[in-house]
């Protein structure tokens, strides 16, 4: 299976004029090649976007964007979509993702595109309603759905399926699952993070790696935005050459024509930067997705920590109870207990009282032992499943980022070719001066 996708990739990448859309399709194709339940059956398409107005939570009017989701049987391109073709807004995507996070904590859940535009270089709009932003978000949302649909576990989820097909009442039915009760409170996660005694080394390493990756990509995106800004400046100033050559050519005789046409080429050169930088945004979007992926990885690590912590608590609890039983049996008071304290204060208890207490404790110990076994099993199972997930994620990340770098290089080559073309044209004009 790996081999198939690999050779497909190699075949595609020999064509150096690959656009970013094409390489995106490659990713999707390779995802399809995997043993993916849902995606074998259907094509998902976030077909359109639209603006709606409504009232927000505090009853103030708001404008928001909605996206149309269309499902078609696999291979039936251009056919009529099946299901309800719901319109969804960003907050519903968020709800879906939160549901998945809680329900499948061992999975590295694919991230959503950013809520607000960040790492923006100056010419690019940071406005959520800007058409370019909406368009890029539409593609990213489609990408998100494809990733979920191609995941062996997530794709089977009914809530996800309903998200794709039923517009009305989806929100209510998600909340009805009561998934929010299963969500771990922030406080629990935080305390787990600080009090785990025997953290697993591979998970600690994983957390550290995901922090490093997060920091590297953020840094990269910030600097890239600055580079884009500066490059824009360089290209735009060349447009001034266009103007001055034109003005100058007006006072020249023989030199005039050559200057004038060279000036046009300078204008072309200056204008070409807009397309170049627009294309580069795709690359930035690919990097951003992996930036947000690091949050998903951290979630898995946190869940592991929590389970580990709960296991340690259960073990401690069992040990405490056993200690109590021993003390009760031998009479030595080493462990604080309310009964023990009160007997100290108010006098010894009767043998019957002690008997009943021992029996209750014995039951409690049995329950605690079961709890430890359960927690242990949960922990082991979680570690097994999540580690598989993490491995898959690593492979996917290595593969996709490598491809992103290759298509970035191809973008640079195309930019250089444009530059050579325009200056060669200008040179021809200069020669005719």
């Amino acid at each position: 299976m790996m081999a198939d996708s690999g050779s497909e990739e190699a075949a595609f990448l020999d064509n150096t004029d690959l656009t970013s859309t094409e390489s995106e399709n490659n990713i999707i194709n390779t995802m399809v090649e995997r043993e993916t339940a849902l995606l074998r059956k259907i094509d998902i398409n976030v077909a359109e976007s639209d603006k709606r107005t409504g009232k927000n939570t505090v009853n103030m009017p708001e404008t928001y964007t909605v996206y149309l989701i269309e499902i078609r049987p696999a291979g039936a391109e251009g056919g009529v979509p099946v299901g309800g073709s719901p319109w969804r807004r960003y907050s519903e995507f968020e709800l879906l993702r939160t549901y998945l996070l809680v329900t499948y904590p061992f999975v590295v859940i694919p991230p959503l595109p950013e809520k607000r535009a960040e790492f923006v270089w100056h010419k690019l709009s940071a406005d959520n309603l800007d058409p370019d932003f909406v368009e890029r978000r539409r593609m990213a949302l489609e990408n998100f759905l494809m990733r979920v649909a191609s995941h062996s576990v997530l794709s089977k989820d009914n809530v996800f399926y309903q998200f794709l097909t039923e517009e009305k009442g989806w929100r209510e039915s998600v909340l009805e699952t009561g998934f929010q009760d299963k969500a771990d409170s922030r406080l629990k996660s935080l305390s787990a993070m600080f009090r785990v005694k025997n953290p697993d080394k591979s998970f600690t390493d994983l957390k550290q790696y995901s922090d490093e990756l997060n920091s590297a990509i953020s840094h990269l995106l910030r600097v890239r935005a600055k580079v884009a800004d500066r490059m824009y400046g360089v290209y735009k100033v060349h447009g001034n050459y266009g103007r001055i050559f034109s003005e100058w050519s007006a006072i020249e005789k023989e030199m005039g024509d050559g200057l004038q046409s060279a000036g046009h080429h300078m204008d072309t050169h200056s204008a070409s930067v807009d397309d170049i930088l627009e294309e580069e945004e795709h690359y930035a979007d690919q990097l951003k997705e992996y930036l947000f992926y690091t949050d998903a990885v951290r979630s898995v690590c946190r869940k592991h920590e929590l389970i580990q912590y709960e296991l340690e608590m259960a073990v401690l609890d069992l040990a405490n109870k056993k200690q109590q039983r021993e003390e009760l049996a031998t009479g030595a008071v080493r462990v604080f207990s309310l009964k023990g304290m009160s007997s100290k204060l108010f006098g010894q208890e009767s043998p019957e009282q002690r008997e009943s207490r021992l029996a209750a404790l014995q039951q409690s110990i049995q329950a605690a032992e079961e709890a430890v076994l359960d927690k242990n099993a949960e922990c082991r199972e979680f570690m097994r499943m999540s580690w598989e997930e993490v491995k898959l994620f690593q492979e996917q990340k290595d593969r996709e980022l490598r491809e992103a770098l290759i298509s970035y290089a191809i973008m640079q080559i195309s930019m250089c070719k444009k530059g050579i073309q325009v200056w060669s044209n200008a040179k021809e004009c200069f020669n005719k001066m």
Binding site: M2, A3, G6, S7, E9, A10, L13, D14, T16, Y209, E212, L213, A216, I217, H219, L220, V223, R224, K226, V227, D229, R230, M231, G233, V234, V237, N240, Y241, I244, E247, W248, I251, K253, E254, M255, G258, A262, K397, D398, L401, R402, L405, I406, Y408, A409, I410, Q412, I413, C416, K417, G419, I420, W423, S424, A426, K427, F430, N431, K432, M433
Partner: protein, 450 residues
């Protein structure tokens, strides 16, 4: 520019093409026969073919009188001089017989001062020179002296400009390689232009500059000459009634051109500034990829590869900026100085004409009063005006041709530098892509074999 006779006062006979007058009265240029020699081989670079086209189809020579052949010849000489090797005697026309070069800068440290000298080499067959070859060292001061002497002794001619004399200490390092190199190239250009000028090249001061060990500059006398000049001008005090349209047009052209040059200079500097700032960000960009590579495994090699490409692009951008600042800016500034010189010459021409007209008017009035004939001085004045006009027009044409040549070369070179920059970047990214694709194929093969 059309050949116009001076308006207004007119008892002067209609002038024939000014160049024919100039050739006879002033310049001992070797006898030009009617046949105009156009070299078969174009020895200069990319523009060679175009040059021939320029000369044979519709060259903007106003008349087709025999004298225009000599202007053609002048143009040929100038077209050749800037690109041909000056020491390659076969490369130029038959009339080229004086070749000069400025090179080999050296620093001299003495107790009084530190300065740079340049080697000035001469090769010639002219009889005015005792030896066929000379080589001596000159400093900027000496060039400045030469220029001053030329201006004084040939007031009707356009003297090429020198690079700027004063540089702000502390702002520019007078002894940096870059500064010295730029200055030397400008001095070389100056000397070549003088040596190629049909009149200036025979000036005795040039001869002294090229041959005498000691220039014996006699600064005092030079000062006197300058004073004399200004006295002359002040004493003239004649006002010009009507300037012929062609000279007004020249003046207007120069003003507009000056403006455009100023704008071009600003644009070029702005581009350099933007490129420098771009470079700063680009360097950091490359290092971020390197940093990231450190925490990766399979991605380490591609990330390092990208970092390497970015670094190559940085180096290429540096070269581009350096080239631009060393080649483009000095030429723009040189032409600004040239324009100043030319405007001075135009002013002097105006004054010469004004003087003539003033004297003529006075003489005519006296003749009306008491039949005194027009004095010979007035006729001599007229001759002077005509000579001035002729020289100026010839120099103007030469200057226009030079300018066209220089800017064509300059802009072409700028285009080449940019092309070179993109080519370097492209090749770096291309080798990265092929390397990464090869790695990919390898990995695929490995998994195939698993």
């Amino acid at each position: 520019m059309s050949v116009g006779a001076p308006r207004g006062l007119q008892p002067v006979t209609e002038t024939t093409h000014p160049l024919s007058a100039a050739q006879e009265t002033l310049s001992p240029v070797p006898d030009v026969t009617a046949s105009c020699h156009i070299p078969n081989s174009s020895n200069s670079g990319g523009g060679g073919g175009d040059k021939e086209a320029v000369l044979t189809n519709g060259t903007p020579i106003e008349t087709s009188s025999p004298a225009s052949a000599s202007s053609l010849l002048n143009r040929l000489q100038l077209d050749d001089d800037l690109e041909a090797d000056p020491l390659d005697l076969y490369a130029s026309t038959e009339t080229r017989d004086l070749f000069v070069t400025v090179d080999d800068p050296k620093k001299h440290v003495s107790t009084m001062e530190t300065y740079i000298t340049y080697r000035v080499s001469t090769k010639t067959t002219r009889i005015e020179f005792d030896l066929p070859e000379y080589s001596l060292r000159r400093r900027y001061q000496d060039f400045d002296w030469l220029r001053m002497k030329l201006e004084d002794s040939q007031p009707t001619h356009l003297i090429p400009p020198l690079p700027e004399k004063f540089v702000m200490k502390g702002v520019v390092d007078r002894f940096s390689e870059e500064f010295v190199e730029t200055r030397m190239k400008a001095l070389d250009k100056f000397l070549k232009r003088v040596a190629d000028h049909p009149v200036l090249s025979f000036n005795p001061h040039l001869n002294a500059f090229l041959t005498s060990k000691d220039l014996n500059k006699r600064q005092g006398l030079a000062l006197l000459t300058k004073v004399g000049e200004s006295v002359k001008q002040a004493a003239g005090g004649y006002k010009l009634r009507a300037r012929p349209a062609e000279y007004s047009a020249m003046g207007e052209y120069l003003d507009t051109f000056n403006q455009k040059l100023g704008t071009m200079d600003r644009i070029a500097q702005r581009i350099l500034k933007e490129q420098t700032e771009y470079l700063v960000e680009l360097r950091e960009y490359g290092s971020v990829y390197s940093g990231w590579a450190g925490s990766e495994d399979a991605l380490q090699s591609p990330l390092e590869g990208v970092a390497g490409c970015v670094s190559t692009c940085c180096a290429a951008m540096e070269d581009l900026s350096e080239g631009m600042s060393q080649e483009l800016l000095p030429v723009l500034r040189e032409y600004v100085l040239y324009i100043e010189s030319m405007k001075n010459v135009l002013k002097k021409r105006d004054q010469s004409q004004a003087e003539y007209e003033g004297r003529l008017e006075a003489a005519v009035i006296r003749r009306q009063e008491d039949k005194t004939p027009v004095p010979v001085e007035v006729e001599k004045c007229q001759d002077r005006v005509e000579c001035f006009n002729a020289d100026l027009k010839a120099d103007w044409e030469r200057w226009q041709s030079n300018k066209r040549q220089d800017f064509r070369q300059l802009l072409t070179s700028m285009a080449d530098k940019n092309i070179n920059y993109y080519e370097k970047c492209q090749s770096a990214w291309e080798s990265l892509v092929s390397q990464l694709q090869d790695d990919q194929a390898e990995n695929t093969n490995e998994t195939n074999c698993d």
